[in-house]
């Protein structure tokens, strides 16, 4: 059936009125929005992602981390807010929002985004030290990604083994920029920065003339050394300390391990 624009807006108004009737007092005590039909309370100023995480509800994401301001680049956290697509890590929570999260449509899109991330880098899970602790891999399992689907790009991304304590394997980089944020906001060192343009150009720059990590004051105790959600930044001389099968996401799927580190 075809509906004209005016009919649609009449229907929308009626829906709005119903929503308002259900929750008459939209006061501060009533800071609640709907996520897949579930009531999510929030504090003013929180994003949809922050509120959902605090509540223990999983919205798939890779570049977002509760300790840092949103980067908004991976787009895995794309939700539908009152019918419109948007990144839940950057959209402010508001009373009465109707947010779709784990619908077939959205998870389909997320699966494609994951496949894009897998083919643009060089990800070989079986040989990766991060396997089982990797957010990319865990999210792919969560979303039933069965294959990379697209042709692999096999980019040429050199490894940086110059630092005595840390190995950088950029083959696995997903451009989340969490290392940039950690080095800047916590360590106060500004060792990493996202540069370049486009698919082949985009990369993490290291703040030294040689471009090598050894020529910076990076330390294994830096927050940036432990922030990488995938297997780019790895400590040297420490491999497979926890056996495969007993690692973080071996024990429970990523969606069941929603942890909010903010107070």
């Amino acid at each position: 059936m075809k509906t004209s624009n005016s009919e649609v807006s009449v229907q929308a108004n009626a829906r709005e009125a119903r929503v308002k009737a259900d929750r008459p007092a939209e006061t501060k005590a009533n800071n609640i929005f709907q996520l897949d039909g579930e009531d999510i309370p929030f504090r003013p100023g929180q994003t949809i992602m922050q509120a959902a995480t605090h509540h223990g509800t999983y919205i798939p994401h890779l570049c977002w981390h509760p300790d840092f301001s949103a980067h908004g680049s991976c787009k895995l956290c794309t939700v539908k807010v009152n019918g419109r697509f948007g990144s839940s890590c950057t959209i402010a929570a508001q009373p009465g929002l109707d947010v779709e999260n784990r619908t077939a449509e959205l998870d389909d899109k997320r699966r494609t985004l994951l496949q894009m991330l897998f083919v643009e880098g060089n990800h070989f899970c079986p040989s990766c030290e991060k396997s089982g602790n990797c957010a990319l891999q865990a999210t792919a399992y969560e979303l039933n990604m069965m294959s990379p689907h697209f042709d692999m790009f096999y980019p040429d991304r050199p490894v940086d083994a110059s630092h005595p304590d840390i190995l950088l394997d950029f083959n696995r980089c997903i451009m989340c920029a969490l290392c940039v944020a950690a080095s800047r906001d916590v360590d106060g060192k500004n060792i990493f920065y996202m540069g370049g343009r486009g698919l082949l150009g985009r990369r993490v720059h290291i703040s030294s003339e040689s471009g090598k990590l050894a020529d910076t004051d990076f330390a294994v105790t830096d927050r940036a050394a432990s922030i990488c959600p995938v297997g780019v930044i790895l400590p040297k001389r420490k491999g497979f300390a926890v056996p495969i099968g007993q690692r973080t996401y071996d024990l429970a799927p990523i969606s069941k391990q929603v942890r909010d580190t903010t107070p």
């Binding site: 794309t78 985004l113 042709d151 790009f153 920065y193 540069g195 703040s207």
Partner: protein, 599 residues
């Protein structure tokens, strides 16, 4: 002067201000040829920025080189209109004469030849940039002469002057291009009214942004005016968006060439309304050749008390700075443009907050298109009632179109809003028209049968590009050119656009090689749906528009290329053997595998 002294002098001239990094990098590169690792270190130290940030800016923009690119850098504008004028053959001929592969620097470090996104010379192509100076109307003879000049290492400044001539090609004038204002007239009228009444006039004139989106200029100025500045450097800013990067658009080039005063005056009026003392004009790097003339126009205005302190003997203070871009289409997006103004890679910001409250240096900033600002002068001088008589109810005033492609008279056409596509086609002498791409690759493709549609925000909104394709043109190749453009210009920030634009480009190339199947068409639609909803900014959201439009309107152009109408493997067995054939020097029948689909 040593390199270090030279870098010091440049950085000093820009007050060691990191926000001026783009200008520092450009001026340094103009003297040293490229930005070496030690140059970047020196600049980073001088402006006290982390080195990785400086490198991040340097390797984001197409016109900055962190590797030597030769003493002569020839860049062929590669818009579809340049292609239609034969740029591919000309560039090939040039490379052949120079014994050069596109994109590579010659062994002796003399020259490199490559393509670049549309340089805004579509009405006088094929165009090139040589060391970032625009040259129009390339011909086989000119290619030969140019190769000679490069070989003999003749400085570009001494090349034949007529090569650098850029014509306005104004074919139809209306209220804006036919204005009779003298410098200062509109500004005096605005000052007499005062900021509130001037704002009311803009609002009553119902002026809307000419960059294509059509946001109400009055509302933008009002929000900016009402926003409070932030922190200790509280201020308001006016930014003129002259990053005219949409392929097929060149009207801002003409406005800045022949009506620069009107643009500067519009910026001043905006400054008066929003309460800004400083305006910034962001000029695309491709228009580098306009810089000196624009600077001198600014100097003339300062001398005439139209800029600076006590403008026209009032207490209004306003001045304008010009920032040059360096080859990045994405900087046309207003928040990316502001990032670039601050010396950073042009990456669109997370919005909200919007620039009107948190823009340049986190201060309230109004970003307006060149043409919008020029139009504001007409409203200041003649009033809103006069202005709103022109155009349509929802689109008042006029629109300047950049017409190029298959027509007898390409160039600049100004019409009151509401003109039909058919009328424009008639006026420019386009017979046999198959389709028009309006507002560039991110706009819409209009096919025959839709030519009675109107140029207006309520029907076909446009930034100005109007590319005409006659019956002989292959609309698939048009869309493929645009797919390459978006893959080249994606900033790489968000996953869907960074990877999606390249996947789309590869699919289009696969279909062009006649290895596609209906499966690939479905894939294109799937990527379109993903990128349209999930991308961070307008580039990714609209990157598949030309493919979506041409697939819907010119499907046979795709289908006749499909190898089979059912299944086609992604893996080409025979092609995979090509290296082995090359190594063994064989090309007989037994050295070939038949692909399944051909079997």
């Amino acid at each position: 002067m040593s390199d270090t002294d030279m870098i010091d002098a440049v950085v000093e001239r820009h007050h060691r201000d990191g926000a001026r990094l783009m200008q520092i990098l450009r001026e340094t590169q103009e003297q040293l040829g490229w930005l070496s690792p030690s140059t970047l270190t020196a600049i980073a130290e001088a402006i006290a920025w982390p080195r990785a940030m400086v490198e991040g800016t340097a390797d984001f923009y197409s016109f900055f080189h962190t590797r030597p690119m030769g003493r002569y850098r020839v860049l062929w504008s590669d818009n579809i209109t340049d292609r239609m004028l034969g740029n591919t053959d000309l560039m090939q001929a040039m490379c052949k004469k120079l014994w050069l592969e596109p994109g590579r620097v010659s062994e002796d470090g003399l020259v490199s030849v490559d393509t670049t996104s549309c340089t805004g010379m579509c009405d006088q192509g094929p165009a090139v940039l040589v060391n970032y100076r625009a040259i129009t109307r390339m011909t086989p003879a000119r290619v030969g002469e140019m190769v000679g000049l490069i070989r003999s290492e003749m400085p570009v400044a001494e090349w034949p002057a007529e090569w650098f001539s850029v014509d306005d090609n104004i074919r139809r004038k209306d209220m804006l291009l036919a204005h009779d204002l003298v410098p200062g007239q509109a500004l005096a009228a605005a000052l007499e009214r005062g900021p509130e009444k001037m704002l009311a006039e803009i609002r009553d004139a119902r002026l809307r942004g000419r960059g294509g989106a059509g946001f109400s200029t009055g509302q933008k100025w009002e929000t900016c005016r009402n926003a409070e500045g932030n922190g200790s450097n509280a201020a308001h800013y006016v930014v003129c968006n002259a990053d005219e990067g949409e392929p097929g658009t060149f009207k801002d080039r003409v406005l800045l060439t022949s009506h620069a005063d009107l643009v500067f005056e519009g910026m001043s009026i905006a400054g008066l309304v929003v309460g800004a003392k400083k305006g910034l004009l962001y000029l695309r790097g491709e228009y580098r050749y306009l810089l000196e003339a624009l600077e001198s126009a600014l100097a003339t205005r300062r001398a005439a008390k139209l800029l600076g302190k006590n403008i026209l003997d009032t207490d209004f203070e306003f001045d304008i700075e010009i920032h040059l871009g360096a080859g990045a289409y994405i900087c046309g997006e207003e928040s990316a443009l502001i990032e670039s103004l601050e010396g950073k890679p042009g990456r669109p910001r997370i919005r909200p907050p919007f620039p009107v409250t948190h823009g340049y240096l986190d201060q309230p900033t109004t970003v307006n298109n060149v043409e919008t600002l020029a139009a504001s002068c007409l409203i200041a001088a003649h009033g809103s009632a006069w202005y709103a008589q022109h155009g349509t109810e929802k689109s008042t005033g006029s629109k300047i179109l950049s017409v190029s492609g298959d027509c007898e008279r390409s160039g600049i056409y100004e019409y009151p809003y509401g003109v039909t596509v058919r009328q424009v086609l008639e006026d420019c002498g386009a017979s046999d028209c198959q389709a028009v791409q309006i507002s560039g690759p991110s706009g819409i493709c209009v096919a025959e049968g839709e030519f009675d549609r109107r140029i207006a925000f309520e029907d076909i909104p446009t930034a100005g590009a109007f590319m005409v394709f006659d019956e002989t043109r292959d609309m698939f190749e048009v869309a493929r050119n645009f797919a390459h453009f978006f893959a080249h210009e994606s900033c790489g920030f968000c996953t869907p656009c960074r990877v999606g634009t390249t996947l789309v480009r590869n699919l289009m190339d696969k279909i062009a090689r006649q290895h596609g199947s209906p499966y690939d068409i479905d894939e294109l639609f799937k990527l379109h749906r993903l990128m349209q909803g999930a991308s961070h900014c307008g580039l990714g959201n609209s990157a598949c528009n030309p493919i979506f439009d041409t697939l819907n309107k010119f499907r046979p152009a795709y289908e006749h290329r499909l190898m089979s109408l059912d299944y086609e493997p992604a893996f080409d067995l025979d092609a995979a053997l090509s290296q082995a054939r090359q190594m063994t020097g064989r090309d007989d029948a037994a050295a070939h595998l038949q692909n399944e689909a051909e079997a």
